[in-house]
Amino acid sequence: MLQALPLIFILAGLALYAVLGGADFGAGFWQLATARRTEGRRVREFAHHAMGPVWEANHVWLIFVLVIFWTCYPKAFGSIMSTLAVPLFIALLGIIFRGAAYALREGAATHEESGRIDAIFAVSSILVPFALGTAVGGIAGGRVPVGNAAGHEWSSWLNGTSIVIGALAVATSAHLAAVYLAADAAHDRETELERSFRLRGLGSGVIAGALAIAGVFVLNGDDHSLFHSLLSGRALPAVIVSAVVGLAALVLVFERRYELARYAASLAVAAIIAGWALARWPTILPNLTVDQAAAGHDILVSVVVVVVAGAVILLPSLVLLFRLTLTGRFRARELTVVETTTVTRPALRAGLLARVAVACLIAGAGLLNLADAQWAHVIGVTCLISFVGIAFCAIVVPALDEQASSR
């Protein structure tokens, strides 16, 4: 059980990345899809602003997945990364350009400039989920053997299963983003925008569903064993849940119940990931079971402790961020009240501070650079850091006072 626990973390991280990061990728997709229309600019502005505050947070899920993977299943990680180096590297380039375009947009002054930057952003927003999807397809289709680049570098990810999963990733992202943006537009009473995103949500949802059904047929021809285990036994409930909930999501979008639709679509994505894991259980790669791939007992315990402790801090913070974002707090007008309560400060004894700082410097240098004992080094370093802090106060406070008075 302990051996499988980190795998559950990884799959949960993957599902969250697919849902939250996916919505961001999808926003990029719609920026491209609306580029040539008159309303395009408004859509793009809206998409850009809506994802602003949560942008970085969503993409750290990927790093989380990678890190837990290599810590807990190092051998499987090495095999996957070396065989699937090409699609993963393509995804990496996409991530670089996508992030760069996002950061650079702050500097765009004209609409032409921001339009050009948005185009880069949009193309890479499609490339990344597609490439990552093909890599997932390579793993799911059993094309990654254990070893250092032991699989085929092209056919491992350029095959029917991979391409369908890649396309599915793009379509799902587009759907999630459209529903998210429709909800935002409804919240802001932008009826025009809401209508167009609702239509997009329905369209992309239908396409995602069609791709999923097509995927079943491709899988049947491509990897019959995965097809068989997906549609029989323990994976079947997950597949059924995914289909039913996915359909429900479409109905909910039609009914303009975006909040629920978003959860339904997310559940559909999570269910299909769970179905894949259940179908492959107990192997992680061909001829490598989860138990064989897992790291030692102490390490797994450490990771579980870190993840649980981290989650205790992380989840409330994440809830705070999403609440502030989803309630539109970050799109509200700025308050204009400036506190002008000047606090009367006690006169700083700069001279005394300076003397203490010099004493710290001398003591620190003596203990760190002349003494050899470890305890002396500890005190020495502390003294030197204190020197920087105290001397900073002694110098900066009078300097700022002087600059403020000679304005």
Partner: protein, 462 residues
Amino acid sequence: MSPQSVAAAFPPVDQHYLLQARQMQALSFSVHIPLVAFGISFPAMVLFVEWLGHRRGDELYLTLARRWSKVMITLFAVGVITGTVLSFEMGLLWPNFTGTFGSVFGVAFAIEGFSFFLEAIFIGIYAYGWRRMSPRAHMLSAVPIVITGVTGSLVVISVDAWMNHPTGFTLRNGKVTNVHPWSALLGNSYLWNELIHMYIAGYIVCGFIVAGCYAFGRLRGRWGRYERTALTIPLTIAALASPVQMLVGDWVARDVANTQPVKLAAIEGLYRTTRGADEHLLGWYTGNHMEHAIVVPHLLSLLTDHSWNGKVVGLDSVPANQRPPVNVVHWAFQIMVGVGTFLALLAVIYIAVRVRRKRLPDSVWFYRALVLAAPLSVAALIAGWVVTEVGRQPWVVYGVMRTDAAVTGAHGIVVGYGALAASYLVVACGLVWVLRRLARSPLELRTDAGSHAAAGTELEAA
């Protein structure tokens, strides 16, 4: 220390492009590390300035803090990308390293992942919370950014310290067993000097770069109270940290001499194990000795052993295939120390004028030197890491696993290297462009009520 002392996860592969793989890693790292320097120190500076603004009720500090926070966010966003590149490369370039040792050091990256996550969350709240939250709540939202900037880099540096000084596991018949990840990472004596050296470097690099920007502005005639304040704060921090860094550096070097004597020998170009070893400044290492170097008799023994005739281990203590490339390490060290000395000198001038005359230096040469100090401090930072990492070669895990046993068997390293280098070049040009734009947007010291509704609109107006 036999080359095959560890049985790796996968059998060895024949990789012709090991050097290119190492260069690709070095490139990714060199791009990321200046951003780390900012991540360590800049949030604290921004928070300090915002605190000044609220405490003194002075709009100028708030404007400064807000403008700095935009730079902070841009750099963080770029840092997320370059950090993602590094975590991909752990597997893309070195699958046998992660495959064999991933479990030993991985916990550190799990903590780093959480730190990064929290930092991303609160940086979002901080960025979009300007004037939409109470001053207290807004400043509180910056505190996690400051803390996670420290914890995140702490654990990553602990991994590097472990690679240089591996502990916390046993090798039995070549198998890695009995792994204690916590003692490997945090119980490692090597961690503390690397950590403190890097943290101080973070303040120096960030301080001199920010000060350098305003020094450049002064040379162009932009020199109001705003600019003087914006120069004074980072410059004071960097100026105080620079001399301290020389003392800390001396401590680090002594630890290297004790735990990685071959690295120290490469730094100094010392071939034979010697008593009363001389220090060689500059020069070129050929045919097992230094040529054209400035020689300071006995200084090396004095520095590393605190004795006139102390023994210093030379490169000849290990076979030729276990020595790092001497000139790369030696020159990286010369650059680091040379620049460090220059920065400390500049710092002493600044502090002397500030304390004695109670003003900023007047000389135009001081500000020209400050402009120069900005890129030089980055060069010193990267050079310092070259000393650590190239000096560790040919090992990826010192004395346990060779780098050529860690590399991927995949083809196309050269293509990947070229593509990554080209992408980084494009992104670097873009970054310079956006930072110039941010710097050029007009100051709004007297903001009229509600003139900007969303973050970014004031830039679009520029």
